[in-house]
């Protein structure tokens, strides 16, 4: 498990380093994810330790949003003041984004073999 965590951190560190060195607009962990994907392709897949450690972390992905989410309390004033435009914009645009993505991908791939309908 320690090796798997060290590996994940090393790829995050490599991602962070590339981001700073090349002034990339994407955060270090996302670059680290792409680098690890490349490494997995070269190696033919993760070993058992990496697979199980990653599985455990990903199973609790929700937990990791809790500390930042609790920051909602810092913005109670603004949220109350602009509640109406914020709620409508947030709900409507999320729905539009969701439907635009889901429907376009569904429409573009529905004639493929193996997919239903």
């Amino acid at each position: 498990m320690i090796q798997a965590i060290a590996l994940l951190l090393a790829f995050q560190l490599a991602g962070e380093t590339l981001r700073v060195a090349l002034h990339l607009p994407v955060p270090g962990p996302v670059i680290g994810m792409a680098l690890l994907l490349g490494w997995l392709v070269l190696r033919g897949g993760p070993d058992d330790a990496l697979r199980s450690t990653s599985g455990t972390l990903l199973q609790h992905l929700s937990l990791m949003f809790v500390p930042a989410g609790t920051g909602v309390m810092l913005h109670a004033g603004r949220l109350a003041e602009e509640a109406w435009p914020i709620t409508v914009a947030l709900v409507a645009s999320t729905l539009l984004g969701l439907l635009a993505t889901g429907l376009s991908l569904h429409f573009l791939t529905r004639h493929r073999a193996g997919s239903p309908q």
């Binding site: 995050q12 994407v26 996302v30 997995l40 697979r51 999320t94 993505t101 889901g102």
Partner: protein, 244 residues
């Protein structure tokens, strides 16, 4: 034990990272149990439940958010290595992802522009202030990218983080039901839409549905972050001129 001793213990512990770290984990475990008890119903979202309990607790005890975060930051830190770990489900679905590369790219462009520009347009038309609108625009993107984009657009990073998380919770609760209603049920489309519109929290929800759904969500989250970071900073000023 008398009241003074209790107060003394509280004053000591509430200033320590240990207390808030332990409570964050404990409350999350409780939220997961409630989620299971509710039969995995998406409305019993673990992030929503945990955040609600923690905010109530912090307000009741008069604890500043910063002191809470001093403890909770250890959990927050895990977001980095866990994002890197998304490479594993991506790798296991790689063949399928590559075979769908064309449709995925088109859906990415349509979805990403719709989510970002509609948030900006609706917020502006309803009279939200300029910093609020700039913080709303990148709300479908994963937190660190969204914060960076918002700052470049004149938004507030910490407000953006709140919008991102509210968007994530909203999508995690309603996305699958809404997509099903319009006839979108295949794992690829549901997962990709969840990850694009609701980033990591949508991805967490997608993994509850299936590993395949989760892999598509993880891909959409990464691609939307990249695409939005490149397009939004120069598209929004154009949009602002058009709306004026």
């Amino acid at each position: 034990m008398n009241g003074d001793a209790m107060t003394e213990i509280w004053v000591y512990l509430s200033a320590q990272p240990l207390l808030w770290l332990t409570l964050t984990l404990g409350i999350y475990i409780l939220a997961i149990a409630l989620h299971r008890r509710a039969g995995g119903h998406p409305a019993a979202n673990p992030v929503l439940i945990s955040v609600s309990i923690l905010v109530a607790l912090l307000l009741l005890t008069g604890t500043p958010y910063q002191r809470y975060f001093d403890g909770a930051q250890f959990v927050h830190f895990l977001l980095g290595p866990t994002t890197v770990a998304l490479a594993i489900p991506l790798h296991s679905q790689l063949k399928r992802l590559v075979s769908m590369a064309g449709p995925l790219m088109i859906a990415l462009m349509i979805g990403s522009l719709t989510a970002g520009l509609s948030a900006y347009a609706i917020g502006s038309l309803l009279g939200a202030s300029a910093p609020t609108v700039a913080s709303l625009a990148p709300k479908s993107v994963t937190t660190p990218i969204a914060m960076g984009i918002a700052e470049r657009l004149g938004g507030l990073a910490s407000l953006t983080a709140v919008f991102v998380i509210l968007t994530g919770i909203f999508g995690a609760i309603f996305a699958a039901g809404i997509l099903r209603r319009v006839g979108v049920k295949d794992e690829a489309s549901v997962g990709f839409a969840l990850g694009l519109a609701s980033h990591g929290i949508g991805t967490a929800r997608a993994f509850q549905l299936s590993e395949q759904t989760g892999a598509f969500a993880a891909l959409a989250m990464g691609l939307n972050g990249l695409f939005t970071a490149i397009t939004l900073p120069w598209l929004l000023p154009l949009m602002a001129t058009a709306l004026r």
